[in-house]
Amino acid sequence: MTVPLLIGITLVSFLVMRLAPGGPTDAATDLNVKASADARARLTKLYGLDKPWPVQYGLWLGRLARLDFGKSFKDDRPVLQKIRERLPATLALNILSLLLIFGAAVPLGVLSAVKQNSLFDRTATVFVFVGYAIPAFWLSLLLMILFGLKLGWLPLSGLRSLNHDEFSAAGKILDLAKHLALPVFVSAFTGLAGLSRYMRNGVLEVIRQDYVRTARAKGLPESRVIRTHALRNALIPVVTILGLSLPDLIGGSFIFETIFAYPGMGRLGYDAIIARDYPVVMGVGTMAALLTLLGNLTADLAYAWVDPRIRYAR
């Protein structure tokens, strides 16, 4: 099932990209009076764009079968290499912010549910929705002005200081941590709402169940009721979200990476779309599709693990 789905996805992205006006030769030739029509035709031929699209797609698919994502039109470097260069930075940012989101959202959601309608619950609700509603770029700029410019505690942007290579190992980690602090915080803060809401609703639903009443009736302490009996069931929707956030891990966010001058996948993908760098667009897209499918699969498997009621037939 997964393979035909993947091929379908790549075909659609291939077609969508070709339907967009313009092409990869534009950056070099558009309004460039030094570039003649000959030069444009020459580049088109070099990129193999003079062939009909089904042939181009067939060739691309053939290469993909050998795990060859082709070469970027922009600099003739292998797409995989370009992705590999940016992946560690993107993974670092996204894993950290995902950890922060889960670390904050699960307790926040559980506490909100247990103390439903209390002052804490209301404050938490306002807090997460402020995060959800606030434009990330605006918050980022304000925090940069405060921590970078006024207080001077954190660097404004980038991944490393100019003299990063001269630091000791500990100094390097500290340097990276300083550069990551703001982007991780902003992306976690603005992404908190969904998960903490799911968590809260999940717990609310579960603590009204008969077996929770039974557990309480047995005389178990409340903390144990919540932790052992309620939480595990309430985690099911969260597991779904976790599975679905797998592609986000490598997807990167164009806005964060642009604001923080962060060398990640979001900028790679966005720049490739703008430059109509088809091989890179297709490479990034295929990876995202693959991870989405993989994420769904993982989530399905994880259900069985957290929810004893779900078992897959052999």
Partner: protein, 546 residues
């Protein structure tokens, strides 16, 4: 997790032992910045610049984006270059002779020049560079300038003869193209050659390191033929958001950036530690008419719209005063610019009279002119993402409304704008800008043979007199004569008004005050970068004694 970091950090280790003190830079003695005047130049320090997008290929033949071009300028040399007054002078060629009316150019190369890897630079490299430029398997868009070359031959190791099919005056400029080393590129195809990421040139700076989407580091070429540059290193940081770039400037993390008019006028305390410069950029913004459109066939109509327009309003409103009214297709710092060509004055009454003469009258009293029962109503298109052009169109709209002309504005995504509208000549009028090369030859923009889909004379301008002049000017090597021809063209285009020439914007760069030796000239400020220096006491990043 940790592994991911380490792997990333070790992808391309720095192969040398420079020590930068970057974190404690804000403790500079502040008053000293202004006190230091004309110290003797000293070596040292690092110059940090920024750019919006990453480079693509550090090879002058393949560099089509501005970042790659800028880095290539540090690393490579052409045979000729422009000096501060925009005159062509020798670079890798110490002199040249133009023979047989321009059918032959003889370059005498500078002896003793070495590539960054120590190999000597010779005429073989020039021949090789040419062969790559005209190789149809190479992804270079710059071949057109060399299309008229019949043959390039090495007379000896330091003399190159170029034979042309017909004289072509811009040809000399085209030899400003950076020369690439034959011995490096012999190992494989040029398009994807590893040297495009680790360039070897002859220029004042050598390549050190490139971290994708982060920064590119260059270091001084101690053996540069004109003498080593004073800076030890140049670091180009990639900062894709211009407001963040400005914050980095305010925190003194970068030493230079091009400002917007808004930023230029920001609070003085932002600039206590920076010098600001302003000079005309090599570009202009215009409104182009589609001359095949029935409204705009009549030159009286085109002139009338020019008279109806107060350029001062546009320059004040859009550029906050940082620009000047354009009178023609040559920028004021070009030698082709004729300062005696008058700017179209703002005169709405004469505009109305001219329109009436052309048959446009408001018969039904609805405030819009008509002719043959057709209202004067057209659409101007421009591209999305250029705020200045959008604002320009808006002001135009208001001014034209005053004389009874109704103008709509459509803003289109760049690619669609260009390919579905401009290339297909499918528009009434458009607002756009030209960035110009230093050589004034604009044959491809104005000659009547350059009309038609996908060509650059999208206005559809055709004037036999002007055609002759463009042809003649690109065949004339004598500068005085050539200037005379361009001055004529300047006046003709101003009178024919195929475009409304709107404004020449200004470049507004800023450079950190500790940097000495910056001299604005017609060529801008970068022309003597090699001679910029920082007095020892003010140096911010120091070399470790090693």
């Amino acid at each position: 997790m940790k592994n991911a970091f380490l792997r990333f950090a070790t992808l391309a280790p720095i192969p040398c032992s420079l020590f930068l003190i970057g974190c404690h830079q804000d403790k500079l003695p502040q008053p000293a910045l202004d006190a230091v005047a004309d110290n003797a130049p000293v070596h040292g320090d690092v110059f940090v610049e920024s750019t919006i997008g990453d480079a693509s290929r550090l090879n002058p033949l393949l560099a089509t984006d501005s970042t790659s071009g800028a880095i290539c300028n540090y690393v490579f040399n052409g045979l000729v270059k422009y000096d501060k007054d925009l005159r062509l002078v020798g670079d890798l060629a110490k002199s040249w002779e133009i023979r047989r009316g321009g059918l032959e150019i003889l370059f005498h190369l500078r002896p003793g020049v070495r590539w960054h890897d120590g190999q000597p630079f010779t005429s073989r490299d020039v021949l090789f560079t040419y062969s790559v430029l005209v190789d149809t398997n190479v992804a270079t868009p710059f071949g057109a300038d060399f299309a008229d070359v019949r043959r390039v031959e090495a007379v000896d190791g330091l003399t190159v003869r170029v034979l042309y099919r017909r004289p072509f005056a811009p040809a000399l400029e085209s030899w400003g193209m950076g020369m690439i080393p034959e011995h490096i590129f012999l190992t494989g195809p040029v398009n994807g050659h590893p040297a495009n990421r680790r360039p070897v040139g002859t220029g004042p700076f050598k390549f050190v390191e490139w971290k994708a989407d982060e920064k590119i580091i260059l270091e001084a070429n101690l053996d540069y033929f004109e003498g080593r540059p004073h800076f030890d290193r140049v670091v180009t940081r990639i900062i894709p958001d211009s407001s963040v770039e400005f914050l980095e400037l305010r925190s003194e993390s970068i030493d230079s950036m091009g400002l917007t008019p808004d930023q230029y006028q920001a609070y003085p305390e932002f600039f206590r530690r920076y010098n600001k410069f302003r000079y005309p950029a090599f570009s202009y913004t215009f409104l182009a008419f589609n001359m095949n459109h029935p409204f705009f066939k009549d030159v009286r109509v085109r002139r009338a719209l020019g008279l109806a327009l107060d350029k001062r309003d546009i320059i004040q409103g859009v550029l906050l005063g940082f620009g000047r009214p354009a009178t023609g297709p040559f920028p004021p710092s070009s030698w082709a610019f004729d300062p005696t060509v008058p700017d179209t004055p703002y005169d709405p009454d004469r505009a109305r009279a001219l329109l009436a003469e052309a048959g446009w009258k408001d018969a039904d009293g609805d405030g819009t002119l008509e002719k043959d029962a057709r209202p004067f109503h057209f659409t101007v298109i421009t591209n999305q993402g250029n705020k200045l052009r959008e604002l320009t169109a808006t002001i135009l709209q208001a001014h034209l409304a005053r004389v009874g002309v109704k103008m709509d504005i459509r803003i289109l995504e760049w690619s669609s704008f260009l390919h579905n509208y401009v290339d297909k000549n499918n528009f009434d009028a458009l607002v756009l800008g030209w960035n110009l090369s230093r050589d004034p030859d604009q044959y491809v923009i104005w000659h009547s043979s350059q009309r038609g889909p996908g060509k650059y004379n999208f206005a559809g301008y055709a004037n036999p007199v002007a055609d002759k002049l463009w042809e003649e000017a690109r065949r004339t090597f004598d500068l005085v004569e050539r200037r005379r021809l361009y001055h004529k063209l300047h006046r003709i285009l101003n009178e024919d008004a195929p475009y409304l020439f709107l404004y020449y914007p200004e470049s507004l760069p800023t450079v950190h005050k500790r940097v000495q030796g910056v001299q604005p000239a017609p060529a801008g400020i970068g022309w003597n970068f090699r001679e910029w220096f920082v007095p020892r006491a003010l140096q911010k990043y120091r070399l470790a004694a090693n």
